[in-house]
Every structure is written in structure tokens, then in C-alpha cells.
Symmetry: C3
Subunit: 270 residues, 3 copies
Amino acid sequence: MNTRGENPPIVSLLTDFGTADAYVGVMKGVILSRCPAARIVDITHDVEPGNVHAAGHLLRGAWRYFPAGTVHTVVVDPGVGSDRRVLAAEVDGHRFVGPDNGVLSGVFDDVAPSRVIDVTNDALFLKPVSRTFHGRDIFAPVAASLACGVALDELGDVVDSWIHLPRLAPATDASGAVIGQIVYVDRFGNLVSNIEEADVSAMARPVVHIGGRAIAGVSTSYASVDEGKLVAVIGSTGRLEISVNRGSAAERLRAAVGTELRVADEEATA
Amino acid sequence: MNTRGENPPIVSLLTDFGTADAYVGVMKGVILSRCPAARIVDITHDVEPGNVHAAGHLLRGAWRYFPAGTVHTVVVDPGVGSDRRVLAAEVDGHRFVGPDNGVLSGVFDDVAPSRVIDVTNDALFLKPVSRTFHGRDIFAPVAASLACGVALDELGDVVDSWIHLPRLAPATDASGAVIGQIVYVDRFGNLVSNIEEADVSAMARPVVHIGGRAIAGVSTSYASVDEGKLVAVIGSTGRLEISVNRGSAAERLRAAVGTELRVADEEATA
Amino acid sequence: MNTRGENPPIVSLLTDFGTADAYVGVMKGVILSRCPAARIVDITHDVEPGNVHAAGHLLRGAWRYFPAGTVHTVVVDPGVGSDRRVLAAEVDGHRFVGPDNGVLSGVFDDVAPSRVIDVTNDALFLKPVSRTFHGRDIFAPVAASLACGVALDELGDVVDSWIHLPRLAPATDASGAVIGQIVYVDRFGNLVSNIEEADVSAMARPVVHIGGRAIAGVSTSYASVDEGKLVAVIGSTGRLEISVNRGSAAERLRAAVGTELRVADEEATA
């Protein structure tokens, strides 16, 4: 409980509840009721309702920047009230709580979890457990329990399989060009692809083809091109992004999640 | 002030200030200036401007999930600068601060307050008090004072009446059917009615009529119907809600706050 | 670090990152990793992308309401990845961190900074430093370092010039009328001008002309006119604002940032 001057426990929240209703505030009230010392940090609550892919993408890019010990709590849960399981896990000293619908599987793909638990210890839940708001009745109290010292093993039995969200990997064609997809569009209209820096770093003269446009070269920053110009950069999560300096690439290219892009080495293909 | 390892005081905020301006941040700065130990939790800031009914609805559903002692601070205050009073109250160990415009009356209807105070002790206010931003100049410093140990009685005199927001109660017609209204629409398009579980639990075969559609039965969760189907459930606040599994009932039924719904027992009316 | 019961260090955040992505959550994770005792307060994250003027306006109106010692962290940074400098400053006991693009210059205009530093000590940065997300890699760790006791001088060398954002000052015409501009529009549609109370307080009978309308008198609050009526008030930051009681002046007058307004003393000009 933090009585010896240790660092306060941190609970991060990632949901699709939005912030216009009181759902998130209620979850925080429950967490602080169970674990008064908890520090609660919002990752975001504006995931598109039920979009497990987007939530998984954001979680994968965010969790490592928190202190070890953080309890990452993910409630993007379109199957609430069904018999889908609740998972808790430990990965590299971080803890995770979320529904077993694939939202955590991207993290587990990146770093093998040391334990994954099927959370069944309903003594920790808020009673009566509703069928429509497990964020309040299950996820918040379980996260608070972990934050305040309950051991992972007390939550339920270890499992060795879980729902796995398929992840589109980029492909390479006969010419050596890499074909990927846009996997996330951020608030600025930056288009984040699934192509990693390593996929294109060997190319002498990479040219990105997307939405009928060709973008020559991979730049080091948005500001390396004139205002309003398209630019391909290696973004902050290490993947190829298409941007417009001080503008929206999503609007410019009418691109969205799923849009295909192709990176060819013109030196090679010429 | 929390010098003996006690739990930190919590201040919850519920406003219509939005989060695009600095109003909420300024309130938090004032609170932390007055009560550095305070833990501030947002319920929401996205209440429709001036919508006292919506704010009252959210407050009623949220406050009990916070720890006793929390100072719930409500600033939905279209009459700011007029002579409307400022109220502070104690209800079941929780404290409340807000304008006397009915926004707190739903809580007082649910649980009788042990004391309601007309806040007049302007020694606690931030000077000079503006006529347009009492969130900063009155509500924040009063909430912070309560959080850091100022007694309710020091704020002003006890009152025994306040502005009361009328609350639409469901009616029962000659056939025994219950007629209610939609009182809140959430981010997912779930339609929350004023019909309580007890109003329909005695019905052998309840059928919900709304927007020209008939929904048979009250289900236990969204997921109990196929994706895209309408469903009536008892929601997380104990009231009848109309939802679409992974969709928006508000869009599907073109329903909004005020839309009427009728629950008939077909067993009885057949 | 707060081991002697001192007040916890506060870090305020003001960005254009929005809250739909994980950028802000990641910054908070970095801050808490570096300075676990930090209390993080959002001013706003919904500044229009790249709008340095709007961010500067909000910062100027907000910072003084925080406790002395607060580290105000501003990341509205369209030039990220270019060679623009990173500034840290001390102003009246508060600390500021932000890009050298003018976003801090309004604060420095209001109160002369005791020191402004060109932040070059990359030992404090998060490595590797990306070219697209300095909020995470530079601003967050620098702010956390300041919050947890690193001295300003350790960040780099003192500078005595910085990018200065021009600020439109109101003008006075031959008749003595004051001509100003709308400099900010808030969530309620209130139009905040650059005309200060002192500019109009000497007028016997001020009349505000804007958008083809004339508003007689400067009122003390929105509620001093009937619902739906236009009103001119001295707003919470001491400047002339045009509002509609329980409505939007921006919509009513089709006004925006840059719209001109003119205040004439009818007693004088009649």
C-alpha cells in the first residue's frame, strides 16, 4: 500500500467509453475506493466504440513508456455480458487487465507474458455485477486490487491460450517492393503503416506509392518538406508514416485504415 | 491535510466547460493552490452547455462509486453572475458543491442530505470574484476548502429549501402498461429511460414499444441478441435501457431525450 | 522528491495532441517514470493543431492560477524535427518548458522571466530522440526533471532573445473609439477580444459595434440580459467579451478570431 515512501501504484486506463458520460469517472471512483493510493492515468477513452484493433494498436505503442508495475486497464469490450473471459497478465514487470477479445494479444506478441490469468475470483468484483458495465464492476476493482498488492495468482488460474487478433504483416513482391497497409490514423491525419524501419532501410532510393501518389525518400521529420507537402517518415513508434507537413495526409490522400501502400527501391527497379 | 498517512482528499468535477479551453485546468490550479493534497477526478466536462438535467442525471449515477468524503463539485451554471445561491451539502458522508439551480436536487431526492448550506462566506472565495467564472472564483476554492478540512458549517447558514428539478416519473395506464421517457442518451447511443427494474419485473412477458418498434423481453446483456439487433436491458444504473448490440439505438430509432416508451405485459394484455 | 511532507511537484500540460490518440498518455508515462511524485494536470490538449496563437492565449490566462513551482509544459510544436530551439524559463516562481516558436512569449511579455534557457542538455532526453515526437522524448523528460529537482541552469545556457509572437494591440481612432479584434473563441461561443477593461472604463456610455450590430453598455454578467440576447461583458481574464446569454455569440454574429470590433463612447461622439 505504499506506506514506506515507495512510489505510488499507477493504473492506466484505455477505453472506448468517451468522456461525455460518467463511465470513466465512475471507474476512477471505484479504483480510488479500493486503492486510495493509486495514481490513475488516462491513455485514451476515445477509441472508436468496439474497435479492438485500434485499442490494441494504441496499447502496444504506449505501455512501455510507463513505469514498471503499472496496471494497464483496457476496456474495449463489445462482448460485455457474454461469456468472454477476463484476462490479467504480467509482461516485463507491467500488469495488464482486459477482456479476452484480442485487445491484449498484440502486447503478448511483442513480449511474451510471464503469466496470463483467467480472472474468475469474483470476491474481488463489485456486487451485484451488472451485465452491461464490467468496466465498473470487474475491470476497475481487479485493477485496483493489483495496484494495491493483490498477487496475480489470486485472481484465477493460469491459462496458456487466448483470443489472438490477426495482425497484417507487410509482404514483399517479386521486385523486392514492400506492400503494407495503413493500420492507424491519428488526430493530425498522419497515416501509420505496418511497415517497419528495417523493411525499407536497406533500400537505396525508396519511393512510397499510396493513393496514386509517389513520395520519394524517407525523411527524418515533417519539417524536412515545405508546408503542405506530403512526406514519408519513420514515426515515433518505429514504423513508416505518411504525413503532410502542417496538414492531414488522411484528407489529402483520402486514405484510411486498410489503405494499401507500396515501397519500391527505384535504384533496384529502374 | 493528510499528514498521518490518511487517504488523500478527493475532489470530483462535473462541468459543462468542455476540455478545449483552459477553464477546467484553471479550476484544478486553484484547487491545488488551496489544497495541495487533493486528488482531482473528472466525472465529465462535456455536459451540453447549461443542461442541468443531464448533469443531474450523471451525478446521480456516479457519486456513490466514490469514496466517502469526496467533494463532488458541479459547475453547470447558466445563471452565473445572477443572484442564484451557491449550495454545499453533506449526503451520506459525501460532500457536494454546486449552484442552486436544481443540479443537486436529484441527489437530495435519492438520499436526504444531512445538511444543506447557503454558501456566503466569501472569505474563502478567490478575489476579485468575476461575474462570469464562478467555477474558478467560488466553486473551486470552496471545494478545496472542504477537501482540506474546512467544516461545512463555516461556509454559511443551513437552509431547508432549494431549487427542485422536476423529475418525470413513469405512469401506468388502465391496462397496466408502464409509460416512461428517455432521460439520457449516452455516447454509444444507448437510450436510458426513467423506468426502473421494479416497474417491469412483475410482468410475465414485457414488450417494449418505442419509435414504432416492439422489443419482446428484457434481456440480461447487449450480447444476448445478434449484432445489430435492438435489445431492452436493465442498465448499469438499474433502469430500463434500449440498445443496439454494437450499434446505436438513438440512430436506429431516431430517439432522443423525451422520447416516450411503453412497456406492456403481453401475457396480461393478450 | 517530497520526502519531508512538502507539497508534491505539479506538471501542467498544454498541447495540440488531442485525446483520441495515446500521445498524451505516453507523455504522462514518461513524466511519472522520471518523477514518480509528480502531479500532472491537463490545461488542454485540444488546441487546434499547430495554432501557437491559441495555445499562447490559453497559457497566458491559466498559469497564474497554479501554485508557484508548477512546471508548465507546452507542446504545440509544428516545427518538431526542425532546428527550432527548446526553451525552459522561470517566471515569478513558475517554470515553463516549450518550443521556441512564440508560444511562451506572451507569458514573457506579461511578466519578465528571471531566466530563459536554451535546453541543450540531451543527457535528460529520452533516447533515441525521435524526429516526430519531442513531447515524449524531450519535453516530458525535461519537465519531469525540473519537477523533481533538476535546476534550470543544468538544462543549458541562458539566452536573452527568443521568437516573439506579434500581439495585436487595440488602436484608438480620431474620435476616441477603440478598435480591437477577437483573439479567441471559447466552447460556449463567447468572443474574447484584445480590449482591456481599462480601455473602455473611462467611457461614459460605451457602445460595442461588431458584425453589424451595436451593443449598448458593458454589463457585469451574462445573466444581466434576457436569454438569447447579445451582451458585452468584462470576462474572467479582464478583457471585453461578446456573449449571448445561454447561446453562442460566434454563431449569432458569424464572428471568429480576427473579427474586428469597435467601442465608441456615445456620450462623447453624440
